[in-house]
């Protein structure tokens, strides 16, 4: 990671914008495309002002067609550009699912590297902002099950800029999901220069010795909150923000678990088939003999994400996470 002394205090969504700006300045093959990313600067303002800086050829308002967006981005990437496509919400990625799994993910394998798709597909994800139906999805597991894709979810402004830079520079397609609940929740000092945070590496957000809590994205904050509060009860939880969901940082997961012998996984997605299953299974495959309690899943329920009147009941929050941690420690 390169160093710089100049920093600015940015929110997470500002860090997205700043990351895009930096990469577009650094590499003229990088372009941004999607619905309302131009004049409008994106419905969350993640591309604000970029069209003034880089013009309509590099900040492109597309027709309303997700498969068209991802499909043309694949063609562009194969030709040597570095498209960063925005899908307005993760819940609207599915029309492009075929292009993602059948092409973006497979172009390199299919051609033994003759053609590649160095591209990023960004989308805000997750619940908690009283949004309409389909605006609160958290289905990273769909993409993590597809070989050939990488899946990245930042949880802080600093990571956002650095992970986005890595994703854009990566030679392979990256699904970059942004926790919109915390787009503007807090600020952090972010270097003005470009820098990278490596893909595939988890971050230990809080060291602890009693139990390892694995999470990502918007769930990181209530998880840290839960961990902090539990110190009062004498529980010392380690909180690990996975940051990259595919490929997983198995080493960090396993090392932490070896130390604690207990784990909780927290995610927003429905429990069944969610990534907590993958993480749990990896743990028991690698280090079953260290295991002192079942790995606890604190997740969304196996229901379609509800309209907002009930979303707070759907989403894990600190109290639920604390229960999960307690139960695991006390097992």
């Amino acid at each position: 990671m390169s160093q710089t002394t100049q920093t600015q205090s940015l929110t997470l969504v500002q860090a997205v914008r700043d990351g895009l700006y930096g990469e577009m300045e650094r590499d003229e093959d990088v372009l941004v495309m999607g619905e309302d990313v131009g004049e409008n600067g994106g419905v969350f303002r993640a591309t604000q002002g970029l069209i003034e800086e880089f013009g309509g050829d590099r900040v492109i308002d597309t027709p309303l067609a997700e498969s068209g967006i991802v499909g043309t981005a694949i063609g562009m990437a194969a030709y040597g550009l570095r498209p960063v496509a925005e899908i307005q919400f993760l819940g609207f990625m599915y029309p492009a699912f075929d292009q993602m799994v059948s092409h973006a993910a497979r172009l390199r394998t299919r051609s033994r590297g003759a053609y590649t798709a160095p591209m990023v597909v960004r989308a805000p994800y997750g619940g908690g902002i009283r949004a309409p139906e389909h605006h609160s999805e958290s289905t990273e597991a769909f993409f993590a099950h597809q070989p050939g894709l990488k899946v990245v979810i930042p949880s802080t402004p600093h990571d956002t800029k650095g992970l986005l830079a890595s994703a854009i520079r990566d030679p392979d397609p990256v699904v970059f999901l942004e926790p919109k609940l915390i787009y503007r929740a807090f600020r952090e000092d972010v270097p003005e220069d470009t820098y990278t945070v490596p893909l595939g590496e988890a971050a230990v957000r809080r060291e602890g010795s009693d139990v390892s809590v694995f999470t990502w994205g918007a769930m990181t904050r209530p998880t840290i909150e839960a961990a902090e509060e539990l110190t009062e009860e004498g529980i010392d939880a380690e909180v690990i923000d996975l940051r990259t969901l595919s490929p997983l940082d198995e080493e960090t997961i396993v090392e932490s678990f070896k130390k604690t012998g207990r784990a909780v996984v927290v995610h927003e997605a429905p429990k069944s088939g969610g990534l907590a299953g993958e993480i749990t299974t990896t743990i028991q495959e690698e280090v079953l003999l260290y295991q002192e309690a079942p790995v606890k899943r604190v997740t969304g329920f196996d229901v379609p994400f509800p309209l907002y009147a009930l979303e707070d009941y759907y989403l894990p929050e600190a109290a639920r996470i604390k229960d999960g941690i307690r139960e695991t420690v006390e097992f």
């Binding site: 309303l64 908690g128 139906e133 196996d302 309209l307 009930l310």
Partner: protein, 374 residues
């Protein structure tokens, strides 16, 4: 002459901008009471819309998509429908839904975040709101096809926006409709903008109506801010949907049509949108010249169906109705968390039962306030 058999660029218009009947235009046959009722619906829609936006501003409702400017397209088309016809809305057609029997209270409930809003009284023949763009178009084709296969009377009117025409589902839905010749009317609300993307960047085709030619049926443009013109084309398209095709294997002579209702969204895309970022106020002002409400009011006054007093009375009645509706919606019991689990499947699987029990335990031990605090 049929209003449908014309060049897609030859827009059907009845009222001019001032509300006078254009020369040579044929006013559809609608009884006086129905005409006034249409007017009432236009006004109701406008007022409802203003109140909904204000509820959102006050934090009493979530994100809401306003319809002001688009009342004529919605009310005109729904008034042309028979009761047995099905309406398949997108998310902005509050007035179309209401005119086809969907209670306003339900609409509020939906945008207040409760699935209850999608539970209409039986026999409303209106599908629930579709948020993912254009995805409802294949549903509409399927509904119409099912009506045909079952030998039921009636047809389907499916709404979508100008932006919606770019999605693959628009193409697949209309192509199925053409290939199976189903009784459907595809009603495109071209309000000039898909959030910040103007109509002419959405597609290079001169009109949206002409896209119907790719599916082997007619497309027609209509002044979507003229309730009479909208009524007229929709009525004829519905008639053709039900009887206008060649009899085929199934025996019914059905035929789809696409209508492009040219109109304008006066307000923001949703309450989360700021249109001043991407469009000029002067453009809005230009389109306000076509506001359907004063135009239609002029028409009705000239026909002797409205005077100051009636207009005033209607305004008052509408205010009361909307106020009562809002009160009722706000007094509607908050949804129970258990509802999330109850309707995923007809029979709740074990795992969901366990999860529901766990949630109820959480509520018991922590209290709802803790679970729902931001």
């Amino acid at each position: 002459m049929s209003v449908l058999q014309r060049d897609p660029t030859d827009r059907v218009e009845i009222l001019d901008e001032d509300g006078h009947v254009r020369e040579g235009a044929e006013v559809p046959e609608i009884g006086d009471d129905r005409l006034v009722e249409m007017y009432r619906h236009l006004r109701l829609a406008r007022h409802f819309d203003e109140r909904a936006v204000s509820l959102q501003r006050q934090g009493r409702m979530g994100t809401y998509p306003p319809l002001s400017g688009q009342e004529a397209a919605q009310v005109g088309s729904s008034f042309a429908m028979d009761e047995q016809d099905w309406l398949v809305p997108s998310y902005r057609e509050h007035a179309a839904m209401h005119a086809h029997g969907w209670p306003l209270e339900q609409i509020l409930l939906y945008w207040m975040g409760a699935e209850d809003g999608n539970v209409p009284p039986a026999e409303t023949n209106t599908f629930s709101v579709a948020v993912p763009i254009a995805t409802q178009i294949p549903h509409a084709a399927g509904l119409a096809w099912a009506m045909k296969l079952k030998g039921d009377d009636g047809a389907v009117v499916c709404h979508f926006g100008d932006g919606g025409t770019s999605e693959g589902d628009f193409h697949e839905g209309l192509n199925f409709a053409g290939a199976f010749d189903v009784p459907a009317v595809f009603f495109c609300n071209n309000n000039q903008w898909a959030i910040s993307v103007p109509r002419d960047r959405q597609t290079a085709s001169e009109t949206l109506a002409q896209k119907a030619q790719a599916y082997g049926f007619d497309g027609v443009q209509v002044d979507g801010m003229d309730p009479l013109a909208v009524y007229s084309v929709t009525e004829e398209a519905l008639d053709r949907a039900k009887t206008g095709g060649e009899p085929d294997e199934i025996g019914t002579a059905t035929r789809p049509t696409m209508i492009e209702a040219v109109q304008y969204r006066f307000g923001a895309h949703t309450t989360a949108d700021d249109p001043t970022v991407y469009r000029e106020e002067s453009e809005v002002e230009r389109w306000k010249q076509k506001d359907p409400i004063p135009r239609f009011e002029t028409f009705l006054r000239e026909r002797g169906l409205l005077d100051d007093e009636r207009v005033e009375a209607i305004g008052q009645a509408i205010q009361d109705e909307v106020a009562e509706t809002i009160e009722a919606a706000e007094q509607h019991p908050q949804p129970e968390p258990a509802e999330m689990f109850a309707s995923v499947y007809e029979d709740m699987p074990d795992r969901l039962e366990q999860q529901l029990a766990y949630l109820e335990e959480l509520r018991d031990s922590h209290g709802d306030d803790t679970l729902t605090e931001e």
